[in-house]
Amino acid sequence: MFVRILTRVLLVLFTFILIVVLAQIALVAASTRAQHLGLGDVLGRAWEGTQDYFSSLLQVSLGEATSTSILGNQRRSMWDVLADAYPKSMVLVGLAVGVATGLGMLVGIAAAATTSRRLRGALLSVTVVAISTPSFLLAVLLILLSATMVSKYGIRLWPSFGFGWDDHLILPVIVLAARPFAQIANITYVALDETLGSDYVRTARSKGLRESLILFRHALGNAAVPILGAIAAALSIGLSTLPVVEVFFSWPGLGFSLLQAIRRFDAATAGTLLGALAVTIAIVRFGLDAIAARFVQAATGGAA
């Protein structure tokens, strides 16, 4: 147990160091493009930058980042940038993954449990379409929808862009949640469909257990592992779509700040923010893995 946790912690650390180093190399190469430096020089400078970065990190200071405020080039401590942008992005992604998981499982269960072929077909078609809808198409269509509603019917559905802990969340969350929702619904359906046809479910049925009990106690428990996998994938999709959503809806989160940092070749800031994202993904993934392991353990009677 202890070894496993240590391995995971080391892996998270490795992920963080790797992304900081790669960000340094990439941004040094990008910012010295005009000088046509050799690979050796680029790597040398990136090494210097990495040293600086980690030595200041060890002194619990992330140095300064040029901020992106419209007031001009103020210098802010990188902690401030991180503390400002990180919650804004994480709430967005967290909400999106939450909505996607809830709705996705609901639709998946409904499709597996229903006896109506038509309903099942309709639900599955929705997931197939949603899984192939790029975030940018959905974003543009939703914006158009709200614009049309205002101009034609005078109904204001939701704010089209900007930041706020209120209905400003609606559009970004819908766009972020759409594909993960479809994926989770699909995987829930497939997993349930498989287990519902298996022997032990038939045994449970023959014992005369209620259908809902079978569904939630027996089948869902067994389908938990693929569903947890799908949630982890949903988180990756959400975080990867984040910059698109943040830029399009002017949401001042991590993706937004990162794009600015990359465009300014600010390797330290880019490394920090990318590292924060990667570490978050890694930790949540490992957490979900651990939960999945519990389920496997429960299913196999603790043998694992």
Binding site: L11, G63, S135, F136, V244, L274
Partner: protein, 791 residues
């Protein structure tokens, strides 16, 4: 048994193949150029600016804000976008399968641990942002390559993970043990029995991965990251309203999306059409993947039978043969003998004529210049070039010039008085805020002469009425800062290793209201001025450069703004520069043309030029021959024209050959040429590329400027074909190509990596090296033929 060929498979394959076919045959379907912009549509007397709505004016799906036909763009885009997706897919597949198979085969051993750690780490990276980082690192202007590598590096782990778990699952299976027991080696077991069993899984993941790659490409486009970079130019200079139009070099779905993302309210179709194209292709690949999975589940095809090693070897052989043969049989290879026929000795004779002391350094409009222009025109006539318009090769115009009327002086006055030597110890600078006049005062060292709201190099010094000395990295306009601080003169110090030392620069006849006399001195002179202070200019400069480097490279270390190094000195100096009033001289460009043989393509032009003028003579009669800068340029232009004129039947596009005046005074001649061309067929819009030749005969190795990456690439591949290596020039945007670059026309300067003795008395005919002239000439001929003669 349920059917193996499902509707998902058929639909998916139909969509994917449909887009591919559409992308390939689109040139047959429509004659419209996908990159053709349109500034307005004239309906009666009304001028209607783009974007045009779908269905209007013959645009089935509308136009984007630059007037390009979106439907045609999308069809051509299918080609580019799917091609990128396939390249990325292949790269991911190769990296992922190799590493994943390695890890799976050695599961639990160190190799597996390492690969698995990397897979886990990369799986945690945010895809789009990480890809974007690498696209910038690999230079977005390098086109598809940067996208392919960046997206491959970001996403290989998906295949890695799938392959690893598949191999682990196979590893314990009895048939492998059986294979081992009959004596097959591990490698043979792997290739013959593991690989074929991986193929179905890989085929399914490849289809799904393709849809993920397309989504990533679309999202990058939506963030404004498109193949080739692209750029926005303001369109309000036409007076038809504000905004900007997005220009890109490859018709690709992401690029259209990038142009449309900010016009969602006013012109939603610009974003929706490419986004829908992305969605349909993503849908197609998803269906294809799903269908393939069902196919392999229901009808276990023995893919191993199809993909034998013989087929693999045959495909590899075919690829190698195609790769080896193409460069040697294509039209480009056929141009090599033509390029080799470039006559470098003759070019050197031309350069010798231009650099002869009798030409007196060819100052624009001087008798020596006019004689040289006549010489160029005579050569053009000799080889039968067509005069441009008006029946003459000469394109006369008036140019404003100023001269220095006497030798500028610079001396230390008072104790330790000492005069310095013009053109050895110092040189004047004239133009803009630097003009004639004399000044006397104490030397005040002000570092880089930087003055911003947060930082001033003038802090703690007394520049009023004195002479400021600037040595070190500067920012903004240091002369302007000096004027505002009340200085009476400015001394710049050149570093010993600077590419440009003490040289004669032509005075630029354009001045600001407030001006100062300005000179440039060597570091040795600067150290004499600092003699009483115990400081050394090289150390001061090094400190400032190190500070600047740290501020740029290692911003995390810069906690406080450093104090300036500036100080007053007691050294008193006097400097004086005498400048004549602005006068107009008659001068001319020399221009000749070869018309293309293809009626359509003859409307598009390739321009080859170089400036003919030099910096002339000093008031005391010192001659600056300018044999290399730039007698060599027009000399090569003449001989390139001779080769092309001898094979004019081959030329599809039209070619213009030019020798420009007034380059030394700020690209005056080429600017006049372009301004006169706006009503002519060879206006910037119709210029495919401009190749400028500046300093072809002396120093350093063959190189070209890289303002336009694609053109540099073409030039480099032409050089490769001829067996030469083409590098990058240190001075970008400093010669006549900049006139076209400024108008978004691809342009390049072919020049040396080393400027040699340019703008000095040493730039004589003796320094010319026929070998260098030959390299430049051959590469230019080859590149021009590849651009303007092949299909």
């Amino acid at each position: 048994m349920r059917r193996a060929i499902t509707w998902q498979l058929v639909l998916g394959a139909a969509i994917v193949v449909g887009w591919l076919v559409l992308g390939l045959v689109v040139p047959l379907l429509t004659p419209v150029d996908p990159l053709k912009t349109r500034t307005f549509m004239q309906i009666g007397t009304r001028l209607i600016p783009p974007p045009f709505e779908p269905g209007q004016y013959g645009y089935p799906l509308g136009s984007d804000s630059a007037g390009r036909d979106i439907w045609v763009e999308v069809m051509y885009g299918a080609r580019a976008t799917l091609a990128i997706a396939f390249v990325v897919l292949l790269a991911r597949l190769v990296i992922g399968v190799v590493l994943g198979a390695l890890a799976g085969w050695f599961a639990g051993r160190p190799a597996d641990r390492i690969v698995s750690a990397f897979i886990d780490a990369f799986a945690a990276f945010p895809t789009i942002l990480f890809a974007l980082l690498w696209i910038f690192a690999l230079d977005i202007r390098s086109g598809i390559t940067a996208f392919a590598i960046a997206l491959a590096v970001t996403g290989w782990w998906g295949f890695g993970r799938a392959t690893r778990s598949a191999v682990v699952a196979l590893n314990g299976r009895p048939f492998l043990e059986a294979a081992r027991s009959v004596g097959l080696s591990e490698l043979a077991v792997f290739i013959r029995h593991v690989m074929p069993n991986l193929l179905p899984i890989l085929a399914v993941s490849a289809a799904l991965e393709a849809s993920a790659i397309l989504l990533a490409l679309g999202e990058l486009g939506f963030l404004g990251i498109v193949v080739g970079g692209g750029f926005s130019i303001p369109i309000d200079d036409r007076g038809l309203g504000g905004g900007s139009s997005f220009i890109f070099s490859t018709a690709e779905w992401g690029a259209i999306l990038a142009g449309g993302r900010f016009a969602v309210y006013s012109a939603p179709w610009i974003a929706i059409v490419p986004a829908a194209a992305f969605a349909s292709a993503v849908f197609g690949f998803n269906m294809l993947g799903h269908g393939l999975r069902l196919l392999f589940d229901r009808a276990p095809v023995a893919l191993g039978r199809v993909f034998t090693w013989r087929l693999g070897a045959a495909l590899a052989l075919l690829y190698v043969v195609v790769r080896v043969v193409t460069p040697n049989i294509g039209p480009a290879a056929g141009y090599v003998p033509l390029a080799r026929s470039f006559d470098a000795d003759r070019a050197e004779q031309h350069a010798a004529y231009f650099g002869d002391p009798a030409r007196q350094g060819r100052f624009s409009g001087s008798p020596g210049y006019v004689a040289s222009a006549q010489y160029v025109a005579d050569r053009f006539r000799e080889m039968g070039l067509e005069p441009l318009d008006g029946g003459s090769y000469m394109q006369p115009f008036k140019q404003s010039v100023v001269h220095i009327t006497s030798t500028p002086t610079f001396e230390i006055v008072g104790p330790g008085a000492k005069p310095f030597t013009h053109r050895v110890d110092f040189s004047e600078r004239i133009g803009g805020r630097a003009a004639g006049g004399s000044a006397e005062g104490n030397v005040v060292y002000v570092g880089g002469g930087i003055k911003t709201p947060e930082y001033s190099d003038y802090q703690g010094t007394h520049p009023e009425g004195n002479i400021v000395m600037i040595a070190g990295p500067t920012m903004g306009d240091p002369i302007d800062a000096a004027i505002r601080e009340g200085a009476k003169g400015v001394i710049f110090v050149v570093a010993p290793d600077a590419p440009v030392g003490i040289i004669k620069g032509s005075p630029i006849a354009a001045f600001e209201k407030d001006t100062l006399p300005v000179i440039t001195v060597t570091e040795a002179v600067a150290n004499q001025l600092l003699a009483g202070t115990g400081k050394n200019i090289g150390d001061l400069r090094a400190t400032l450069e190190e500070r600047q480097r740290r501020a740029q490279q290692r911003p995390s270390l810069q906690r406080v703004v450093p104090d300036p190094l500036s100080f007053d000195t007691n050294t008193r100096v006097r400097l004086s520069v005498a400048v004549s009033p602005v006068e107009q001289v008659d001068t001319m460009n020399v221009v000749g043309m070869i018309r293309g043989t293809d009626a359509d393509r003859a409307q598009k032009f390739l321009i080859v030029g170089g400036h003919l003028d030099g910096v002339g003579v000093d008031p005391n009669g010192t001659l600056f021959p300018g044999a290399n800068d730039n007698g060599s340029g027009p000399a090569v232009v003449i001989e390139v024209a001779r080769v092309l004129a001898a094979h004019r039947d081959m030329l599809k596009n039209s070619f213009i050959f030019a020798a420009f005046a007034g380059e030394e005074e700020g690209l005056v001649g080429s600017e006049i040429f372009v301004q006169n061309s706006v009503t002519k067929p060879y206006r910037p819009e119709n210029v495919i590329a401009m190749v400028n030749l500046d300093m072809e005969g002396c120093c350093g190795s063959l190189a070209a400027s890289d303002e336009n990456f694609a053109l540099h690439d073409r030039m480099k591949s032409a050089a490769d074909r001829l067996g030469y290596d083409l590098g990058y020039t240190p001075l970008i945007g400093s010669s006549d190509q900049a006139t076209w670059i400024r108008r978004r026309v691809p342009a390049i300067n072919v020049g040396p990596t080393d400027l040699g003795p340019f703008h000095t008395t040493g730039d004589t005919v003796a320094t010319l090296d026929p070998k260098k002239i030959r390299e430049s000439g051959e590469v230019v001929v080859q590149a021009l033929l590849e651009l303007g003669a092949s299909q």
